[in-house]
Symmetry: C2
Subunit: 210 residues, 2 copies
């Protein structure tokens, strides 16, 4: 029971993406997905344990492939700064190319229940690890400041990409995400502050505040 491959397996996953993106999570009934996949309701249960399992598989299948792509692409680049840019480009490209997938992962799947979110979290963790690796080698190679906290930087990077995409979707996918790569990359590397060493040292020296 619950085959995890085959023509119908993929047809169902792709249909689920379309149905969820078009109708929203709460209106994505199993029967609607089945109809879109040109399959009977019951067939879905030959390929997935239940609806949750289908959603988790959907995410892991697509996100897993994406992470592999990012791993390969960043491995082909030397500078961690460029690796970061490459990751951002792929992140945006992937979602810009496939807005329905973007809607599903950025908006709709976040409405899922605890179990689904747990199944998703594991895969997401792998993406975080890719980001961590880039930051770590940036520090080791002396490209990034040695005192950046990897976890803090990772949350900034992921949080910014995520918010950028969410906001893009919420505004109807009108502009190009790819145009944002360089401004964001610059912001990550150089910050928004004017070069003013004195001002900066003032903060980092006193540290404690009420």
């Amino acid at each position: 029971m619950a085959k995890r491959t085959g023509e119908k397996y993929e047809a169902i996953i792709d249909a689920a993406i379309r149905v969820i993106a078009e109708n929203g999570y709460h209106n994505a009934q199993v029967s609607k997905i089945a109809r879109e996949a040109k399959v009977a309701d019951g067939t879905i249960y030959l390929y997935f344990e239940n609806k949750d399992d289908m959603l988790i598989s959907l995410f892991n299948e697509k996100m897993g492939a994406f992470i592999e792509t990012v791993r390969e692409a960043t491995a082909r680049v030397d500078s961690p700064s460029d690796q970061l840019r490459e990751l951002m480009r792929l992140h945006f490209a992937q979602l810009e190319e496939n807005p329905k997938m973007a809607i599903v992962t950025q908006i709709e799947l976040r409405q899922s229940n605890r179990k689904v979110r747990q199944g998703i979290a594991e895969t997401l963790k792998k993406y975080m690890d890719v980001i961590d690796d880039i930051i770590r080698s940036g520090i080791e190679q002396g490209i990034f400041r040695p005192d950046v906290d990897i976890r803090v930087a990772r949350r900034m990077i992921f949080g910014t990409l995520d918010e950028t995409v969410t906001s893009w979707i919420m505004n109807g996918c009108k502009y190009s995400l790819m145009d944002q790569v360089d401004p964001i990359h610059r912001l990550f590397l150089d910050g928004m502050g004017k070069e003013a060493p004195l001002q900066r040292d003032a903060h980092s020296e006193k540290e404690g505040n009420a």
Copy 2:
């Protein structure tokens, strides 16, 4: 019909926060919220149009008050850099102080349907405006680089704070959010890159890339 004030009104909202935080959005039945508020199921419909309306009111009520606090606090500070720090401190303080509220706004309410999210978006927009104002005056006062795109910077700021809080919750609220204020603030202002003007100019000068 649908009074939007009174003792019970607040009791219901507070009960909803507790029930949703403890049971998750999908197990927060109206009857459970009513019981927690020591009120009959039907009473909820004297104060709210329907369940959605209750959730939207919950968010707007609490978030609205928070935004007002931030507005007042940042108005008492001159430097946009410190205004930004103040906003971050309040953002983290508010959620650290009230983890149940944090769970509801960061995790559970994101599972709501389209209508709820729309109701929420409007209030969230006001928060974005506060962030925009800080960035804008930072640029005007020459504290921030004149070429930062306000929208890009805003998404970085909000996205980072949001991801930081979500990650804090997902890991069981074990560490202090407040400790993150300075490292993040530093990252926003100075970036993660080592001071290397030559490297930076390389990017900003050529611009286009395949």
